[in-house]
């Protein structure tokens, strides 16, 4: 069976006054139907840009994105519109991702109206269904965003994304703006929807505990590149790339009795403007050697576990 999403050597560069920003640099992966790929990394690592480039909110600079085996990233006009109906996005900030002047109902209806595929009565009916699906009370139909809390707004955003029955949904940090108790509600909802509708997710986040909970596979990104990619459980059991190790070790654990010694990285994230060849993590890596400043290649260390680090076998 062809995977729902295939991304091959995808690149997205932005021109900035200070040079070419390699926001997404040569990223390759596939996602099978009904699965979730978690993409983790810190701010500025290009994870959000990656999601937006895949669903064509940004024009890709190079590379291929395939939806159900067909290339979609060069499309325009009607073909693009069609492809977009199959690929949707849930945004991070429930405060800015919903038009403050539209009621919950209007926001959810809009994709249905724009698609011109439905009659008025069908639109009404579908809106009702969607609202029930994401758990928004009937009485909140005509509520404006400022009358809703963050969790409910996020539900409205989810309903809007699901309105056209997409197959693939990019979840761009959908819970990071929410409080823990609400966050759990939304995560459960996303999981329920995936099961019921067979959705395929790409779940972008910086929260390792969330990504572990929701993903089947995980990509770790650093300054535009994927440094490690493997099944979720494997990543947490056996992180191989030094950056992944540092990232995992930096998470404050709730377990008060097994506080392990943490690996604290020196230095800060820079931005990938006119990057030199070689490992982008080299500047902060405790294991850095001369070879790290050469171009790096992805290696399959064990089945399904890919790492981009020249010293992975030594370490």
């Amino acid at each position: 069976m062809t995977p729902v999403i295939e991304v091959e050597h995808l690149k997205k560069y932005f021109t900035t006054p200070r040079g070419l920003l390699h926001a997404v640099d040569d990223v390759t992966f596939t996602i099978e139907k009904g699965k979730t790929l978690g993409v983790v990394g810190e701010s500025g690592c290009g994870k959000s840009t990656l999601g937006r480039t895949i669903i064509h909110l940004h024009e890709s600079t190079e590379g291929v994105v395939k939806l159900n085996g067909e290339q979609v990233n060069h499309l325009s006009g009607n073909a693009l519109k069609k492809a977009r109906e199959k690929m949707q996005i849930i945004f991070q900030d429930p405060y800015s991702s919903i038009d403050p002047r539209k009621t919950a109902e209007q926001t959810i209806m809009e994709p249905l109206i724009v698609s011109k595929k439905y009659k008025k009565s069908e639109i009404e009916e579908k809106t009702d269904e969607l609202m029930e699906l994401v758990g928004i009370d009937e009485r909140l139909r005509r509520a404006y965003p400022h009358e809703l809390d963050g969790g409910r707004r996020q539900r409205v955003g989810i309903a809007r994304a699901l309105a056209l029955d997409p197959e693939f949904v990019v979840c761009d940090e959908p819970v990071s703006a929410l409080d823990v108790s609400i966050q759990a509600q939304v995560l459960n909802l996303l999981k329920k929807l995936q099961m019921e509708k067979g959705l395929t997710y790409m779940f972008v986040t910086h929260d390792m505990s969330v990504v572990r909970h929701i993903s089947d596979d995980i990509c770790v990104m650093y300054l535009g590149q994927v440094v490690e990619k493997c099944p979720s459980r494997e990543l947490f059991k056996n992180p191989l790339h030094p950056y992944t190790q540092a990232l995992l070790s930096a998470i404050p654990s709730v377990d008060i009795h097994n506080q392990t010694e943490r690996m604290i990285l020196k230095g800060e994230l820079t931005s990938p403007i006119n990057p030199k060849p070689g490992c982008r993590f080299a500047a902060r890596c405790p294991y850095v050697k001369d070879a790290c400043h050469q171009a790096q290649h992805q290696e399959e260390v064990s089945p399904g576990h890919f790492v981009t680090c020249c010293r992975v076998r030594e370490l």
Binding site: P17, G267, E268, T270
Partner: protein, 323 residues
């Protein structure tokens, strides 16, 4: 920074050129036959035709425009007034300083009084000082300045006889009423703007930081809030200057001051179009210069803006040094 200043000055050239083209073009749509305006309605057909030819009015529009621009920008000659035949350049040289001095003095008065009033209001939010200043400012904004001028004349010249009501023959004294009149609007606007800008700054996190450091409330305002709060006021300075320069046209009429305003307005009423053209271009240049100064001042106060102006190169060097 030097490069930015240069770029900013060079940028004025197309603007001023644009103003000249715009004004010249607009003026060609003015009603009336120039030759007839100059010679009066009693002139003969032949005299009119000769005058038209002399003025170059039979040339195509673009040729006339070109000639005008060459005259203005290369030969620095704005022509002569149709009504008096006096060189426009000479008249402007005599009149512009009066208008400019009056505008600047008024402007500094307005800001010098308006900023403190705004600060007092902001630091006493919702107390009587605030309400009183804001009621005053609201009224100040609402009163049309030409009427205020008349009221001042009525009170200080007619009733009390303290100050002259028109002209500039009494030295400094004759400028007091015009300045007080012209000041009111800008003063009120400035006070209101300062208040809202200060209130916003006072709410910001770094003010809380300053308080948490144990900085005395007075210093919180003077050392931390003021510099930040004044940034939008500086921007306002430029637009207010333009506003006031325009407003001066009317003030000068009220007080019969022989400045640019009376010059242009008389010219409009006499359909003396070269004067209107020349005067407008000169005022636009003055205004643009003021905006330039404001921009530079802005950079001096706000290091973020300065960094932007200084260009990307140095910033990059610094970032690398930091990493």
């Amino acid at each position: 920074m030097g490069r930015y200043v240069l770029k900013r000055i060079l940028w004025m050239i197309p603007i001023v050129l644009g103003v000249a083209i715009l004004v010249f073009t607009l003026m060609t749509f003015c009603p009336g036959n120039p030759a007839e305006i100059i010679l009066g309605s009693t002139a003969t057909e032949e005299a009119l035709a000769a005058k038209t030819e002399e003025l170059g009015l039979n040339d195509p529009f673009l040729v006339r425009l070109g000639n005008y621009l060459v005259d203005v920008f290369i030969r620095h000659d704005l022509g002569a007034s149709w009504a008096t035949n006096v060189s426009i350049m000479t008249s402007i040289k005599e009149r512009l300083p009066r208008t400019l001095t009056l505008t600047l003095v008024t402007l500094f008065l307005a800001f010098g009084l308006g900023i403190p009033l705004g600060i007092v209001a902001a630091t006493h939010q919702n107390r009587w000082q605030d309400s009183l200043s804001m009621v005053f400012a609201l009224i100040g904004v609402a009163i049309p300045n030409f009427w205020l001028g008349l009221m001042f004349v009525l009170f200080f010249s007619v009733r009390l006889g303290w100050l002259p009501s028109m002209g500039i023959n009494d030295g400094l004294k004759s400028y007091i009423l015009p300045a007080a009149t012209a000041m009111m609007g800008a003063f009120a606007t400035c006070a209101r703007q300062t208040r809202s800008s200060m209130l916003e700054v006072i709410r910001s996190d770094y003010i809380t930081t300053a308080r948490s450091k144990g900085v005395p409330e007075r210093d919180v305002i003077v050392k931390h809030a003021l510099k930040n709060g004044l940034i939008p006021i500086i921007t306002m300075f430029g637009s207010t200057f333009g506003h006031m320069l325009g407003g001066m046209m009317i003030i000068e009429t009220v007080f019969a001051i022989p400045g640019m305003g009376t010059y242009i307005i008389t010219a409009v009423n006499n359909r003396d179009y070269p004067v209107v053209q020349g005067g407008t271009i000169f005022l636009a240049i003055t205004f643009s210069l003021c905006m330039l100064i404001v921009d530079l001042l802005y950079a001096a106060v706000d290091p973020r803006i300065k960094a932007q102006y200084e260009g990307q190169n140095r910033k990059k060097v610094k970032k690398e040094a930091a990493a």
